[in-house]
Structures are given as C-alpha cells and as structure tokens.
C-alpha cells in the first residue's frame, strides 16, 4: 500500500443483494431519486403549460362550469391517506413483518384505486357535460396533466400489487425492505404532485371563466411591468 498509488485492494465481498457503493446509498434507490428529479421537470412543464393557458379558453365549458371542488377534495383526502398507509407498509417491511406489510400494501392499493375511480368518474362526467379532449385549451391542458398523473398512479398500483404478490408468495425476505422503500418514494412523489395539481387546477384555477381584461393574472402582470417601466 505504501509503495504505489494504485496498489490493489483485496476484492470486496459484498453481501449478495446489497452491493457496496461509494455513497452507501443503494444504486436502485439513488436511481429512483434521480428519476424523481427528472419527473419534477416533466410535471413542471405540463403544469407550466396549464398555467400559461389558464383562463385563455375562448369557448366553454370553462372550469367554473364543471370543476367540482368538494368531490375532488374527497378523492384528494383518499390519496393522501394512501401515503400514510404506504409509510406504515415501509415500516412493516423494515421490521420484517411480512403479514403486516401485505395488509398495508393492500390498503394502499385500495385507496389509490379509489382515487383512480374518482378520476374515471370525473373524466366521464366532463365528457358527458361536453368537455372533450379537443374542446378548448382548458380541456387539452387539464386532461393531459391529470391524465399523466393518473397514469403515474396506475403504474404505482401495478407496482404495489407486484410487491404484495411477491410478499404473499415468498414469505422469506422478498420483497426486501429496500424494494418497498423505493416503491414508497415513488408513491409519495406522485401524491405530492397531486397536491400541487389540486391546488392549482381546482382550488385556484377551478373558478376560471373566459378570458377577460380584468383577469387577476393580467392585472398582476400589468402591475409588475408598470413598476419596471
């Protein structure tokens, strides 16, 4: 070791499932974090598109005609509760309690599935009320953003179902607590994105009508440019 710089260390013998890493963070977990960073920009761009076109639709139905904040508040609560059950699932996996893990995973799937049920109901209702994908700017941006979020949730449901089946079929050690942990990261991220979507598309944007000169956004912009010029 003392005589040269790149003297060779004895080959490491990491345990079979936990490779040794420079940072100590598992490869797959780090991959999930990097993916979530990337996904932030994905949803960020979709949300930006929605915000740019907010209140710009020149034909109805407008958000104020069809957005139902109370019913989506219920579905939002359901989705947030699924984050709680997911945390309990991760804790169960860490303590190696396979039976509890399966119970919490199934509960999370039921809650997430309920959220998707609400979304299907909402999309269908909007269609019946005359808001189709090609109707106006609101419909195109709304369905694209919430649709991709719903696709993320659906993917998460399949993932959690796979973990639950794995846990049921292999009581000894599969899925590992790391497997559950990574799925949990993804699940919480999708929930956080929904909080942003619910705030912007429902609580703030849910009362938008046709474009108008006195629009708050227009007024705000005029105020800023007035300050500068």
């Amino acid at each position: 070791m003392a005589h040269a710089d790149t003297t060779h260390a004895p080959p490491a013998h990491p345990p079979a499932h936990e490779e040794e890493t420079t940072t100590g963070i598992n490869h797959r977990k780090l991959l999930m974090w990097v993916f979530l960073g990337s996904d932030c920009l994905f949803f960020g761009s979709l949300i930006a598109t929605y915000m740019v076109y907010r209140g710009q639709s020149i034909v109805g139905p407008y958000p104020r005609d069809i957005i139902d904040v109370p019913i989506t508040t219920v579905s939002t609560f359901v989705l947030l509760m699924s984050s709680f059950t997911m945390v309990m699932g991760v804790a169960a996996a860490r303590s190696g309690n396979q039976k509890r893990l399966i119970q919490w995973l199934v509960l999370t799937i039921i809650l997430g599935g309920t959220f998707i049920g609400f979304q299907v109901y909402e999309f269908n209702l909007f269609r019946v009320e005359g808001l189709r994908y090609e109707t106006n700017l609101f419909s195109s941006t709304f369905f694209t953003l919430t649709g991709f979020h719903g696709a993320h949730v659906t993917l998460g449901l399949f993932w959690l179902a796979c973990l639950a089946i794995m846990a049921a079929r292999n009581p000894a050690g599969r899925p590992s607590d790391l497997d559950v942990d990574i799925a949990g990261l993804y699940w919480h991220f999708v929930d956080i994105v929904w909080i942003v979507i619910f705030t912007l598309l429902y609580l703030i944007g849910g009362f938008d009508g046709p474009p108008e000169a006195g629009h708050a956004a227009v007024q705000g912009w005029n105020w800023v440019t007035g300050l500068i010029s």
Binding site: M1, H3, A4, D5, T6, T7, H8, A9, P10, P11, A12, H13, A16, H17, T21, T22, T23, I25, H27, L30, L31, V34, F35, G37, S38, D39, L41, F42, G44, S45, L46, T49, V52, Y53, Q56, S57, I58, V59, Y133, E134, N136, L137, S139, S140, T141, T144, C162, R169, P211, T225, I228
Partner: protein, 624 residues
Amino acid sequence: MVTITGVIPRPSTYTGLWSWLTTVDHKRIGALYGISAFFFFIVGGIEAGIMRLQLITSDNSLVSADWFNAMFTMHGTTMIFMVIMPFGATFFNFLIPLMIGARDVAFPRLNAFSYWTFLFGALLMHAGFLIGQVPDAGWFSYANLTAAPFSVGKGLDFWALSLQVLGVASLAAGFNFVVTIINMRAPGMSLMRMPVFVWMTLVTSILLVLAFPIITVALIELTADRQFGANFFNTAAGGDPILWQHLFWLFGHPEVYILILPAMGVVSEIIPTFSRKPLFGYPVIVFSGIVIAIMSWAVWSHHMFTVGLGPIANSVFTITTMLIAVPTGVKIFNWIGTMWKGSIDLRTPMLMAIGFVSLFIVGGLSGVSHAVSPSDFQQQDTYYIVAHIHYVLFGGAIFGIFAGIYYWYPKITGKMYNELLGKIHFWLMFIGMNLTFFPMHYAGLNGMPRRIYTYAEGFGWEGMNLLATIGYFVIVISLLIFIHNFFRSIKKGEEAGHDPWDAPTLEWSISSPPPVYNFAEVPVVRGQDAYWITKREAAARGETVPAEPHVDPTTIHLPSPSYWPLITSFGVVWIAGGLLIDVGWDYIRFPISFVGGIITILGVIGWSLEPPAEEHHEAAGGHH
C-alpha cells in the same frame, strides 16, 4: 417459480451475433454506439452534401424546395440527436467504468436498453424516407407550421414520435451514468480526484435527466395536437405558438451544453497528456463546467430575440448569455495554461484538441456577437447563425469527438493508428471546415437567409457558396482518409501496448483492449492523475509499471447477458411506430400501438423477474 428464459449460457457470451444482441458489457455497448453514430454521421453528411450541391450556384435546380426542406431538417436532427449525442454516449460507455475503476455501469441491462432504444428510434426516424414521409419543418420544428393543416402527411409524426423514443434512450442513459459516477468510484476516488472527463459526463448526465422531460412534454403536446386534435398550439382555439419555442429552447439550450461538455471533457484529458503537465486549474475547470450547466437554464430566450418578448426579456437574456461566455472562456484559458511551458507533443489527438480550442473560440465569439440582441436582429435566420452553430458543433463537438477517437483508439482496439494519415486527416478537416463555414459568416451578413433552397443571381452570394461547397468535399476527403486509417490500422497497425501516451488516468493501467472484466482487482486511488502518480513513484524506484496481468475471466463475477433490454426497446419503438400506421381505416393505429405497450410491459416483467446474476453464478458453482 420463474422460467429462466433471460439467461443464456455463459460460454456463448463472448462470440457470435447473439452475444452482441444480448450484451450488457459497457465496452461492447460503447462500440455499438460508436458504429451507429458514425453510420448516421455519414447519413447526415450526405444530406449536407445534397444541400451544398444545390446551393453551389444561383438558381440551381438539383433538388426541389420540398426535398431541400427535408434535407436541412434531417441533417440537423440527425447530427444532433443521432451523431453527436451517441458519440458522447460512446465515450461515456467505454470510458466511465474504466476511469473510475468499476467493473461495469450501475445498471448494465438499462444500458443495453438505452442503446437499442436509441438505434430503433433513429431507424424509425429514417423509416419515413421509405414511404416518402420525411420531416421537413426544421430541426426545431416551430409551431404552428407543425400543425396538421400546415404539415400534411406523416413526416412531422415521424419526427415527433421518433424523437420521443430517442428521448427515452437518452433519459435511461442519463440515469445510469449519474448513478454510476456517484456510486461506483474506486476506493479513494473522491469527487475532486475524478478525471475531468468523468466530471463533464456527470454534469452532462444531470443536464440530460433534467432537460429531456421538457422536450418530452413539448413532443407530447405536438403529438396530441396532430394525433388527437388537442389545442396546445392551435391559434384558432387561443393556443400560443410561442409556447412551443419556450419549451423547445428551455430544453434546447441545456441540450447545446449536452453536446459540447463531453467534448470539453475529452479535450481536458488530452491536453495534459500531450503537454506532459497536469491540467492547469483543475478545480476551476470543474466548477466552470458546473456553472455552465446551471447557467444554461437561464439563456434560452436568446434563441427568441426577434419574437417580440419585449425589451426587458431581451435585455435580461442578453446579459445572461454574455455571462455564460465567462466560464467557457475560463476553460479556454485553463487549456492554454496547461500547454504553457509544457513539453508539447503534436500527435493527432493533440492537434484535434487544439483544433477544438481554436475553432470553439471562433464559434464562441460569433455567439457573443448575437448575444447582443440588437445585433442579433440583423443575424437572425441568416447564414451567420449557420456559421456559428457549425463552428461550435463541428469545430467544437466533432473535433473533440475525433480527438477522443484518436486518443483512445489504441485502448479500444489494441492497435496504433497511422500517425501520418491522422495528421493529414486533421489538416484536411481543419482546412475544409474553415473553407465551408467561414464564408457563411460573410454570406449571412450580406443577407443570405438560412433554409432557402436557392437564390437569384446578383446578390453576390455565389462566391461564398462555391467556397463552402468546395470545403465540404475537402471534409469528405479527410473523412475517407480517416475511415481508411481506422480499418487498416485495426488489421495492420502495430501493437499499441497498454499505455502508449504515458497517460494519467486509470483506463491506461490495464491491457489494450481492456479485458472483459476491466480490473482484476479494484484499484485504490490516492490523488488526481492517479496512474501518473503510480508511474512516477515506480520510476523513482527505477521500475516500470506493467499492465495489470490477465486473469481467467470465469473467476470474476460479471453481469449476465439478457434478452429483455432488446425486447423492451422493441416494444417502446412499436408504441411509437404503431401510431404511424396508415392503412385506410385511421383508428387501426391505436390497437397496433397498444400491442407495443403490451410487449413493453412483458419486457419489463421479464426483466424484473430475471434472476440476478449472483444466483445464476452460484448455481454454476463458481465463486469470486
């Protein structure tokens, strides 16, 4: 429980077609990337040649206006997404695990998936040629020229969907290299001991994973408009075409640095080696790279000065664009400082690297000239812009790539290229490049717009265009010499040895070409330029350092090959390709595309249920 269909027997992994189709070896994947990128380099070069021949004189009628549109669109798209980016991936793949002392990348199968998805996406893009549906709206395809009423046919659908597939490939590769570099460094290789090429790969990969989702969304919106009747860029419904420009350039400017930072990394390896001096100001070069990456997010609207965003926006982006020239200039001074009082050895890689630095300065200066927004009003959409982009991407990125190809040729092939032919290649390409693109500055300032398929006589543009076309053929000759040199040296070149350049980085401490397992024993790093330190200390004792001796590869645990990346990539491209099917009944494209989705899902399931290599290996009775 699970059928072990994904694992093919170990002895068959080193030879034959299937070994290449199922390989997860980063060196083989790097080679595949390199071959594919060079193939598309020729394709994009032919497209450039058609344009140059059309413009050789005024009122020429070699090709139609429509065909010319297709040529400049495909030339730009090909060179950026199918040549420079995969050439970057070639070096990332081949070198990163070797430079950080790792056995492979963090996710070898994901790496194979990246390559196959890239290849299929690139082929899908070019499949449009077979049915006469070629993208023709320019490489940045501005809305609302791309709307269904204005771009009839499937050309733009080929463009949008293929680019989406290429984006999936780039994202997967970006994730992989971020994790690999952060997590798989050899003991002792702290971040500030990493070779600059590794640093620039890390920065590029982070830019990739953050920038590509934006173009993904822009392409989703374009596809939704064209395929499903959405309104994102539909002005009749109140949509704003400028949104496309913002999304495209918010992706597009980080993309510019995705193209150039790998070349800067390559040059930062070559200049110290051939100056016999450590890199001057290593931390400053690293931080400049990071600052460039951060600032690349704040300059996108300099592509949009003439859009009419107003004086405030134009002033802000003028200032940020001028500021980003500072870290770039710092790097150039560092490279010059490295050469200063060095013992300079003008081998071909060094010539190419110096060519990179000098031509990139020219491109950088013209860049600063249109960072000034009033000046840019004169230059927008003229050949001056074409000259600028080719000085930074041909003079910059391509010279950097060739510098890297010559520098690592002995490592990759085990043979030495012909130095004389290499030098002839460099000088012809350097002269040809300047002959082609320097006159374009004058043509542009004399008012010649870009993207015109012909021009009337009397504007005084003929001379400039003739020079440019002659220059094109000088470049072609130089590349023929390169191709000859490349293949002849593989067959007849002399053995290069493991360390022909007395280089500072770890990949030179193992034999050439590297054994399949890379390092038999994980190296320990105690400083920057790790292999130099080893060799200097040995020399002080009067010893030389031989290449690491070979060991029996079956004693070393390696990731097993897999069919699943190939199958999953095939599914992904089928999803995109299915939407392009047009056989009378329009809606048939949705079920066909859906089949691709099922293949993808089956591929992912097979992938995740594939037993880990450890189990297979232990079952075979081996141990490491």
